[in-house]
Amino acid sequence: MSKKGLETMVGLFVLLGLAGALFLSLKAANLASFGERKGYTVSAKFDNIGGLKARAPVRSAGVTIGRVRHISLDPKTYQGVVTMEIDLGVRFPKDSSAKILTSGLLGDQYIGLEPGADEKELVAGDVIRQTQSAVVLENLIGQMIFNKAADAGDGAEKKNEPAK
């Protein structure tokens, strides 16, 4: 093969490889969603964040409007501080509330924002005051068993009373 032909073939091979890399990063991974998303960050403190992870979606009325940037622990109050980035086009009242919810029974956890009624809007760096922690299944079951036991205890006491 002539030198020119060889060079062209190798060039085509490299171009094909780069096209594959472009396809993998833009169409089959999240590179495209980095650039277009510009947002403002707000934070919220939760008593228990459950299984929430960084990059979890922030949703309002089921529509994804942002992502969790990072999660840390407030060393004074021992609460989990969740910093999230919300799309610039979406504005929320200052008294909006944040909940940690689960998609489906065993699905991933996400943050649900519910708009309040304040006329002022949340701006970058604000802290959401009203929060509701994640529902931890173990606590729920523990509480149920505790209630059952308490009910059974009451019943037993009542039965014993007339004998006294």
């Binding site: 091979f13 594959g20 089959a28």
Partner: protein
């Protein structure tokens, strides 16, 4: 008496293994030292990229497509019981980009390109061509070995990327066009959950490491071959066995390092 012989035999074997490790390490360092000299004669490197990369395209692309088809079909049967068929694309994508793409490409590469490198170098050595070059004051390491090394190291990541890309397209053909899953879900779940640097980037790093290992093993086996027909045959076999096993071992270590946290 028998035990003394046995101990001596054990010692001899250990020394032989250690010596071959040492020789391989020196060979590898020698190869790296001669890479800049080979880069200056770029037309030699170009010819090797063509021989190793371009000519491997057909087998890599057809295997990638087949793996994508089969993965999509099998995953569909498993996922449909749980009503989670929309994550088909995501599962195929992650398993290809993280594991199957680099590893299967490296195994095919060892069979397709590694063997031809070993046989070529081995026959050159058997025909005293390497010694003849040295007599003419041409360094065979920068003239023969290093261009092949660069060609292999450059080709492997490109081939692995193409393997993953065409595998995902194959999964799209089976999942969306044949089975009839939703095309929007297929792509959006991938874009939601696959990270460019963490998943795609680490896959490329893996395939780069495999490229270095496979090419170096093939060249070393060719260079160390005995100058007989049996020697060349034995060296080619060893190339496939040693590179495949080291790819699998290194893959396990790299996976443990890269993806140990969820």
């Amino acid at each position: 008496m028998i035990t003394a012989e046995w101990v001596a035999e054990l010692g001899a074997r250990t020394l032989r293994v250690l010596r071959s490790f040492g020789r391989a390490a020196f060979f590898f360092i020698d190869l790296l030292v001669h890479v800049p000299a080979a880069l200056r004669r770029f037309s030699l490197v170009l010819r090797q990229i063509h021989a190793i990369g371009n000519l491997s395209l057909v087998i890599i692309l057809s295997s990638g497509l087949a793996v994508g088809f089969v993965l999509a079909l099998q995953m569909y049967y498993a996922l449909v019981t749980y009503g989670a068929t929309e994550s088909l694309g995501l599962i195929v994508n992650l398993s290809l980009v993280r594991e199957l793409g680099p590893v299967v490409t490296a195994l095919l590469f060892a069979g397709r390109a590694g063997t031809s490198l070993t046989a070529e170098i081995g026959l050159m050595k058997a025909g005293e061509q390497l010694s003849a070059m040295e007599m003419m004051a041409v360094d065979p390491r920068s003239r023969v070995l290093a261009p092949r090394f660069i060609g292999g190291v450059v080709s492997m990541p490109l081939l692995a990327i193409l393997f993953s890309a065409i595998g995902i397209l194959g999964a799209y053909v089976v999942g969306v066009l044949l089975i009839g899953l939703d095309s929007g879900n297929f792509w959006s779940l991938m874009q939601d959950r696959v990270d460019v640097w963490r998943d795609v980037g680490n896959g490329v790093v893996k395939s780069f490491a495999f490229g270095v290992v496979c090419t170096a093993v093939a060249l070393y086996q060719g260079h160390e071959t005995e100058a007989t027909p049996e020697g060349v045959a034995y060296a080619t076999t060893r190339t496939v066995v040693v590179s495949s096993l080291s790819v699998l071992g290194i893959d396990f270590m790299l996976t443990a390092l890269m993806f140990s946290t969820p």
